[in-house]
Every structure is written in structure tokens, then in C-alpha cells.
């Protein structure tokens, strides 16, 4: 592998990322499964970097999951998106940043359609006006929240308390990244680094001290496939896709999987559990899984935030092995406690996946 070759491609795909005055929209999946990640994003942006990130309580889903599982027609989705733009316009913002990759892909896709078919844009404007009385300007800059973290990765490293290195040996941790299909597969120029060798996560890993591990099925979909997970009968496909990735990365013994999309970390986390329950197979050695993190969670760890503030306790694959390697302190007794230390009980231990390392 020649890194210069990748660097050359990365140079080709530089995208403009706004650095302040954002209009932030949340993700359906991330709010449900990784609420701590969105919290952390805002904490980093507002508290660490003193940036203006505005959220309007009235914004909603873009309906992307509905659109890509084909129950919501394109006209409806375009108008839902137009409404988000209208809220941005009303807030006096021009830089749109989204927590979700499906949304990010759709925003780009819809703008591309409007660019080629101005009559479609006009129709959407009329529909939005009719339905809500609102009108909108198109954003000047659209970013995925990971673009923004990428943009500030050096600032984060500068303030960092921990690095992606094994604190006992000083060696860089081995990280595999998973980008999420809709980040740049549809429009390579909209993603940092393009579609084939995206740099958005690789750049964070490099600057935070880790080593990016390339593996053959790096580009493969996690298997969400919208309807392919939403309907139980189809989940054999969904899990098979993730399994293909685990089998491909296993021999590289990665210390963690870093993800971009909200859905992928949930699937890469949960399918490790399901595979262990179905086949007794685990991928991290010694009955452990490979910890799966969102980029917000990782940024939070680097900055020295409490792992349980980041939401690392709601992962099915325990993250403690990674925390131990990085030397991040944590209080096992507080892992499953409530905000004021109240007792919320403990999750059951899975049959094969080593969930409570201290009792193993």
C-alpha cells in the first residue's frame, strides 16, 4: 500500500466546509441509538470551539428512511427538505449541517435534481408555500457533521487529553473506518476524499494518533438497506452484509471500528452480538467484540470527556478494551447509572460476547 497514492486522490477531493454559524438538523437513528453523540457534537462545537450552532425545535426528519424504503414519494421528501431549508432561512443561517448521512446524501441529491430541473424546484417551492406558507433559500454550504469535526480535527487534537495510541506501548491503535454509502457514493465530490478513499474519518484517525487499516471489504455496505432491516423477514440480508465486513477485517485485528453514518455503528455493533448468539463467533479475540464508535464519541474520548457522558454504555459491544488501551479512566460502577447516580439495573449478559470484562 502506497499512502502517497491515496494522498494524491485526497488532494483531488477537497470540499469547502463552513467553519461557523451552522443550522443543525438531527438524525432519526442517531437520536435513538447514539443520543450521546449528538450531545457531544454540540458540546464540542459550542463549549470547546465557541461556534454558533443553531437548532430549531420545529425541524423534523427529512423523511429519508421513508423515501429509501419507498413509502414516501420523492415529491414529498423534496418538500420536507425544502421545509428544513425554510427553517434555516428563517433563522438567518446559510450553513446547513446534518447529523445523518442518509439526509446528507438526499440534500445533495435534491439540490442536484433542482439544478438540472429548475421546474421541479419551482413546483416544490409552490407545494411548500401551499402546505406551510413558508419559502426558502438554498444553503450556501452543506456539510455532514463529520465534515465539521474533520474540519476542526487539528484543534481537537491540540486540546486533546488522549490519543489513539496504546498508552502502554506507545503504538498507534489500528482503526478500520466505515463511511456509510450515501456520504459520497452518489456524489463523490461532495465527500471529503471522494468515494473510493474517503478521507473524512481517515483524517481524524491520523491526526489523533491512530493508524488507518484498509481491508478488502472496506467499501461494502453495512447492510441496513432500509426495508432490508425494517422488515424482520429481510434481516438475514442485513446481517450477512455486516458479517462479510467482519470476516474481511478480522485478520487485521483492529482495535476499533470508526463510523460516519448514524445507522452503520448501530448495525456493526448489534450484528456482532447477533452473530455471536447465532454462531458463537466473536471477532475481537477472547470472546470480545470489536468496539464500534461514532466520530463524535471518538472526538469526545480524545478531548477527555467521561465515556459515560458520551453514551458509550449503550453499545452492545463493550468499549472498555479500547478505553484501557487508550488509558482513558472510567468508573465501571457508574456505567449503567442514571443522571444523578440512580440505579437503573443492569443489562443482561449475552451468551457469548464478553460483556462484563471485569467478571470474565
Amino acid at each position: 500500500m502506497k499512502i502517497e497514492g491515496k494522498q494524491m486522490i485526497w488532494k483531488e477531493y477537497q470540499k469547502e466546509i463552513a467553519s461557523d454559524n451552522f443550522f443543525y438538523v438531527r438524525s432519526c437513528v442517531r437520536q435513538n441509538f447514539f443520543p450521546g453523540s449528538e450531545k457531544t457534537f454540540l458540546r464540542i462545537m459550542r463549549d470547546e470551539l465557541q461556534k454558533d450552532v443553531f437548532e430549531n425545535a420545529s425541524h423534523t426528519t427529512c423523511s429519508g428512511i421513508g423515501y429509501h424504503s419507498d413509502i414516501v414519494p420523492i415529491e414529498t421528501t423534496m418538500t420536507m427538505i425544502a421545509r428544513q431549508f425554510a427553517l434555516m432561512t428563517e433563522a438567518g443561517k446559510e450553513n446547513f449541517t446534518t447529523s445523518c448521512i442518509t439526509s446528507f446524501g438526499l440534500y445533495n441529491e435534491v439540490l442536484e435534481t433542482w439544478h438540472h430541473f429548475p421546474d421541479v424546484e419551482e413546483r416544490v417551492r409552490q407545494n411548500l408555500l401551499k402546505a406551510t406558507g413558508r419559502s426558502f433559500n438554498k444553503p450556501k454550504n452543506i456539510s455532514h457533521a463529520s465534515d465539521v469535526i474533520f474540519h476542526f480535527r487539528k484543534e481537537i487534537a491540540d486540546r486533546g487529553k488522549f490519543t489513539l495510541t496504546d498508552h502502554r506501548t506507545g503504538k498507534p491503535l489500528r482503526v478500520v473506518e466505515h463511511i456509510g454509502c450515501h456520504y459520497s457514493k452518489m456524489f463523490p465530490s461532495k465527500g471529503v476524499g471522494g468515494a473510493e478513499y474517503p478521507y473524512v474519518l481517515a483524517g481524524m484517525i491520523e491526526d489523533w494518533g491512530g493508524e488507518v487499516i484498509d481491508y478488502p471489504e472496506r467499501r461494502h455496505c453495512c447492510g441496513f438497506g432500509f426495508r432490508q432491516y425494517l422488515v424482520k423477514a429481510n434481516r438475514g440480508y442485513s446481517i450477512a452484509c455486516s458479517k462479510k465486513k467482519f470476516e474481511s477485517m478480522e485478520s487485521y485485528s483492529p482495535d476499533m471500528i470508526l463510523t460516519n453514518c448514524p445507522g452503520c455503528p448501530m448495525f456493526l455493533d448489534r450484528w456482532q452480538y447477533a452473530i455471536s448468539e447465532m454462531e458463537g463467533k466473536t471477532y475481537g479475540g477472547n470472546g470480545q467484540g470489536i468496539p464500534v464508535l461514532t466520530y463524535e464519541e471518538l472526538a469526545g474520548l480524545v478531548l477527555g470527556y467521561n465515556p459515560w457522558d458520551l453514551g458509550l454504555q449503550v453499545h452492545q459491544v463493550p468499549v472498555e478494551p479500547l478505553l484501557d488501551k487508550m488509558g482513558v479512566p472510567y468508573d465501571p460502577g457508574m456505567k449503567f447509572k442514571g443522571a444523578n447516580g440512580e440505579d437503573l439495573g443492569m443489562p443482561e449478559a449475552p451468551s457469548y460476547l464478553n460483556f462484563y470484562p471485569e467478571t470474565a
Partner: protein, 111 residues
């Protein structure tokens, strides 16, 4: 093992590295003319068995060459050995012998 209400889908992708090339090599030794097949499909177009069943001799040969032999045994039973395939082949491939050699090698390999 826990029942989730579904099982992990098996891969349909041809995994050439893991596939059975033994049968392919054996058949190619028995009938070297197969090497010059250009996959034009003349054989399949004229095939008597193909008119009445799903038999596709061009595909049977391609599957053999990719080491996908698991369902060939069932397939080759459909051939009636009329020999029209051989008559029309622009490269003179002995296609009847493909089927005979396949019968033979699949048997030997217990497939």
C-alpha cells in the same frame, strides 16, 4: 443458539478462490476444445432440451469454468445428446463430450 426469527443469508457470489477447480481441470483435460469457447450462445439457442426445460448448455459450461459445480449434476440430466449444439458451434467445440465428461467427473468427485 438463540432464534432471532431469521438466519444469516448465504452468499451467492462466486468465490473463485474457494471453488472446486478439480472438476473443471478434469473436464478440460478430457475435452480440450472447451478452451476455445467464446460464449456466443449458439449452442443454447439451438439446444433441443433448452426448448422444453431451463437447460442452458452455455451456462453449464461457464459455471464449470468458475468452479460452481454444485447444481450441475441436476442440470446435465436434461441433455438429450442430440448434438445440434456441436453442429452450430463456430469454434468447433465438442459439446456432447462436455456433458459426458461432466457426468464422468462429477461422479468421480462424488458430486
Amino acid at each position: 443458539m438463540k432464534d432471532f426469527g431469521y438466519s444469516i443469508n448465504k452468499d451467492k457470489q462466486i468465490d473463485f478462490d474457494d471453488n472446486n477447480k478439480e472438476v473443471m481441470n478434469k473436464v478440460l483435460r478430457m475435452e480440450p476444445s472447451l478452451q476455445v469457447c467464446i460464449a456466443c450462445g449458439s449452442c443454447t439457442a439451438t439446444c433441443s432440451a433448452g426448448q422444453f426445460t431451463g437447460f442452458n448448455i452455455r451456462r453449464v459450461h461457464t459455471f464449470l469454468r468458475r468452479g460452481e459445480v454444485r447444481f450441475l449434476k441436476k442440470e446435465i440430466m436434461k441433455c438429450m445428446f442430440c448434438g445440434k449444439c456441436q453442429l452450430v458451434c463456430p469454434r468447433g467445440v465438442n459439446l456432447r463430450n462436455l456433458i459426458l465428461a461432466l457426468h464422468n467427473s462429477l461422479e468421480i468427485n462424488g458430486l
